[in-house]
């Protein structure tokens, strides 16, 4: 009773049926591919915005962009990277891999899955079209604080709001699908505590998405009514409060940053054991740490608002709660290192990216701890130090995590090995460039350079020049990545089913490339002693 995409009459023009196939597909592998392609495309678009910004910041003074346009670039870069690149990238991986890893025939709700994906191209069309509108694109940063986005937002802000609604629907529907798949479609014998960690981290991530995306929808709705229908949610003269916007936004925003890193944790936990040829150290503690991080992530949002004049009790509460999160995070880092300890390690490209993930994510975590200290944050807030912090957790964290996953599973998807030599070049250049770009931002930030401003004082010139050179290089290496991926899709050495010598798990029991339908009858997972 299985489905085939070829039920479309073959009398049609091949191009028509090709397009129809991708538009109408309910297959988790095809939808996963669509997500990954969208994510990759938007990566280059949002990356191009970053290139223009770094070009502008290459030297002090205003060279290429007007201040307002610069602000639009900052905003679009952030929004698209967060909602269009990191999140869809992870969802794409979830679509491809979760059914394969738990022995399910597909996602639990395949049609809903198609809906979740195809909302996104429309949502981003809406968002990107604002760049060409009268009054320009949104210019208030990806955090769209009121009153910048309410009283002072350009007319295109309304398109942004509806775009966010569409992304929200997509994310919630996608998350529901993932949770239901994981809870309901596991093969017999695949108990919760035998699930691969990538599946575990996605289970928690999906839960976070369901809990916070509706809150984001609520806050943009209040923006819309404040803008047009005379409400005063974020307007003090009516009894509201612009700071309330920040509370609601960050109640969404902090869990959101974990949404952008937990699947990365899962990926590292898959890859490191494979190439260390050892079982993951402390599987249970990894699971518990993930759960704890997710729970705590709901009570730390105030660390983004230390300088808004919260009462002292609030500052202290959020400071300690934030520092508490570092504990389960450190447990994870410890476990990854302990997994590598005395392993028979080899350093194929996925492993290189995974190790870099561990190391540089830790740097980002440590700068996060510095920011969590209230008195220190009074100095650091809204400087480039914050920019350095979150780029360390997001670029070598979320993005490198995704790239590691792509190298790791590409042979399974395409049936071909990627070019290992090019992969290594990609890694080393990217790792160098990422540090050249973002490490100096710590210093310019500590020295007081504010973020989101088109011009800067001459004393920051050297650091900015380094960052800009690094950024250019980083951008170029991603073109190499594109080349490597396309080349692998088109051909290359045949991949075996297991692909990696040390790989374990159901996904490696099916042939490479994975057939259109897998596990139509569930595999039986033999009990193994834990």
């Amino acid at each position: 009773m299985s489905a085939h995409a070829d039920n479309i009459p073959s009398s049609r023009h091949p191009l028509v049926s090709y397009i129809a196939r991708w538009l109408l597909t309910t297959n988790h592998k095809e939808i996963g591919t669509l997500y990954l392609c969208l994510s990759f495309t938007l990566f280059f678009i949002a990356g191009a915005f970053a290139m223009i910004m770094r070009l502008e910041l290459f030297a002090p003074g205003i060279q290429f962009t007007q201040p307002d346009f610069y602000n639009q670039l900052v905003t679009m870069h952030g929004l698209i990277m967060v909602f269009g690149v990191v999140m869809p990238g992870f969802v794409g991986l979830a679509n491809w891999m979760i059914p394969l890893m738990i022995g399910a025939p597909d996602m639990a709700l395949p049609r809903l899955n198609n809906f979740s994906f195809w909302l996104l191209p429309f949502a981003f069309t809406l968002l990107l079209s604002t760049l060409f509108m009268e009054g320009g694109a949104p210019n208030f940063g990806w955090t769209f604080y009121a009153p910048l986005s309410t009283t002072y937002g350009p007319p295109s802000t309304d398109f942004f709001i509806l775009g966010v609604h569409m992304m929200g629907i997509s994310s919630v529907a996608g998350a529901i699908n993932i949770i239901v798949t994981i809870i309901n479609l596991r093969a017999p014998g695949m108990t919760l505590m035998r699930m691969p960690l990538f599946v575990w981290t996605w289970l928690i991530t999906a839960f976070l998405l369901i809990m916070v995306m509706p809150v984001l929808a609520g806050v943009v709705t209040m923006m819309l009514t404040d803008r047009h229908f005379g409400t005063s949610f974020f307007e003090a003269s009516g009894g509201g409060d612009p700071v309330l916007f920040q509370h609601i936004f960050w109640f969404f925003g902090h869990p959101e940053v974990y949404i952008m890193i937990l699947p990365g944790f899962g990926i590292a936990s898959q890859i490191i054991p494979t190439f260390a040829r050892k079982r993951l150290f402390g599987y249970r503690s990894m699971v518990y740490a993930t759960v704890l991080i997710a729970v705590l992530s709901f009570v730390v949002w105030g660390h983004h608002m230390f300088t808004t004049g919260m009462p002292l009790f609030g500052e202290l509460f959020f400071m300690y709660a934030t520092m508490l999160i570092a504990v389960p995070t450190a447990v994870k880092v410890f476990n990854w290192v302990a997994t590598m300890w005395r392993g028979s390690m080899t350093f194929e490209t996925p492993m290189l990216f995974a190790i870099a993930f561990v190391m540089m994510f830790t740097i980002g975590g440590l700068s996060g701890l510095m920011l969590a200290l209230v008195p220190a944050d009074f100095q650091y807030h809204d400087t480039f130090f914050v920019v350095a912090h979150f780029h360390y957790v997001l670029y070598p964290g979320a993005i490198f995590g995704t790239m590691a996953a792509v190298y790791y599973w590409l042979p399974k998807w395409t049936g071909h090995m990627y070019d290992e030599r090019l992969g290594k070049i990609h890694f080393w250049v990217a790792a160098f460039a990422v540090n050249l770009t973002f490490f100096p931002m710590h210093f310019s930030g500590l020295a007081g350079m504010p973020r989101r401003i088109v011009d800067y004082s001459v004393q920051f010139a050297d650091f900015n020049m380094m960052s800009s050179i690094g950024a250019g290089l980083l951008g170029l290496t991603q073109v190499l990545f594109l080349y490597i991926v396309v080349k692998t899709i088109r051909g290359g050495q045949k991949a075996t089913a297991q692909v990696w010598e040390g790989a374990e798990g159901l996904e490696w029991t099916v042939p490479s490339p994975a057939p259109f339908h897998t596990f139509e009858t569930p595999p039986v997972i033999a009990a193994e002693e834990d």
Binding site: R111, S156, G230, T231, F233
Partner: protein
């Protein structure tokens, strides 16, 4: 309910992409509609409303088509127990997401009442704003007078809202009676109870409209009357929208009951609609307590 043992993976489907396009059209229309009918005008003309309603019509068409397919699959016995569980879990998590949507607005209400309004009235260490900007502003809730000087009267709790509370609570009971009747295979009772529920639902909505007219024309309570009016209409308005949706769902279920679609042990759609109905009911109880009563 034996169905196929395998998990049913549907053929490729046109409905999701129609849904995506429909939502896109709706969103695009909504922005233009709003901008053209309020002060911040970015686009000229009046096409916004047209596109918006066209989008909504497409959404309705999509839902009709999509659910039709699902119903047909269910009647063909393609829905295994496992797939049935997927649908159930999906509905539960959808309701959880709705709860969080309302949580944002309740959070706003509590923030206004516990934090921003007292601060604006000079509580805590927030004296300067009070002294320098709005020295006359006093902390009372409902907020009769905003700092900016917008006045309104409060909506009482013991008239229509109390009647509406009783209506919704009763309807939650009647939908449960309908469910019991369905499980016992008593179609007559099922249809009567369900029809009662639907009637109660639409009565609630009618009274809600009466209350809004009362608020606007007699109390001077509007979206523009400060944070009290904002939270009042946002919460009751979104609740009303959800009641409308729930009532439509129940109406469809009523029609399907009359057509004899459900059996005592296969009626997930009915249950989903009734869960949704209970959810709107519970939200109302919170609303009644915190928006009207205290």
């Amino acid at each position: 309910m034996s169905g196929t043992p395998r998990y049913y993976v549907p053929h490729s489907s046109v409905w999701p992409i129609i849904g995506s396009i429909a939502l896109f059209v709706t969103a695009f229309g909504a922005v233009n509609f709003i901008q053209q009918s309020t002060d911040k005008v970015a686009t000229e003309g009046e096409f916004g409303a047209l596109i918006f309603y066209a989008g909504l019509a497409m959404v309705a068409f999509m839902m009709f088509g999509w659910f039709r397919v699902v119903i047909m699959e269910s009647m063909q016995g393609l829905v295994s127990r496992q797939l049935d569980r997927s649908y159930r879990m999906g509905m539960v998590w959808f309701i959880v997401s709705e709860v969080m949507f309302f949580a944002a607005f309740f959070g706003t209400l509590f923030y206004a009442r516990v934090i921003s309004v007292p601060w604006l009235a000079g509580a805590g260490h927030r004296l300067e704003t009070h002294l320098l900007l709005w020295p006359d502003f006093a902390d009372v809730w409902p907020l009769f007078m905003t700092p900016g000087g917008e006045g309104t009267q409060a909506m009482g709790a013991w008239g229509l809202p109390l009647i509406n509370t009783m209506i919704l609570v009763t309807s939650s009971l009647t939908v449960t009676f309908a469910h019991w009747a369905l499980k016992k295979g008593r179609r007559g009772a099922l249809i009567v109870w369900l029809a009662t529920t639907v009637t109660l639902g639409f009565t609630f909505l009618t009274l809600q409209v009466v209350e809004y007219i009362h608020a606007y024309s007699e109390l001077g309570l509007s979206l523009g009357s400060g944070i009290y009016g904002s939270t009042f209409f946002m919460l009751t308005g979104f609740h009303g929208a959800h009641v409308t949706l729930g009532a439509i769902m129940l109406t469809v279920m009523l029609l399907r009951c009359i057509k004899g679609h459900f059996t005592p042990d296969n009626h997930f759609a009915f249950e989903a609609a009734s869960w949704y109905w209970h959810f709107v009911d519970v939200v109302w109880l919170f609303l009644f307590t915190f928006v009207y009563w205290f």
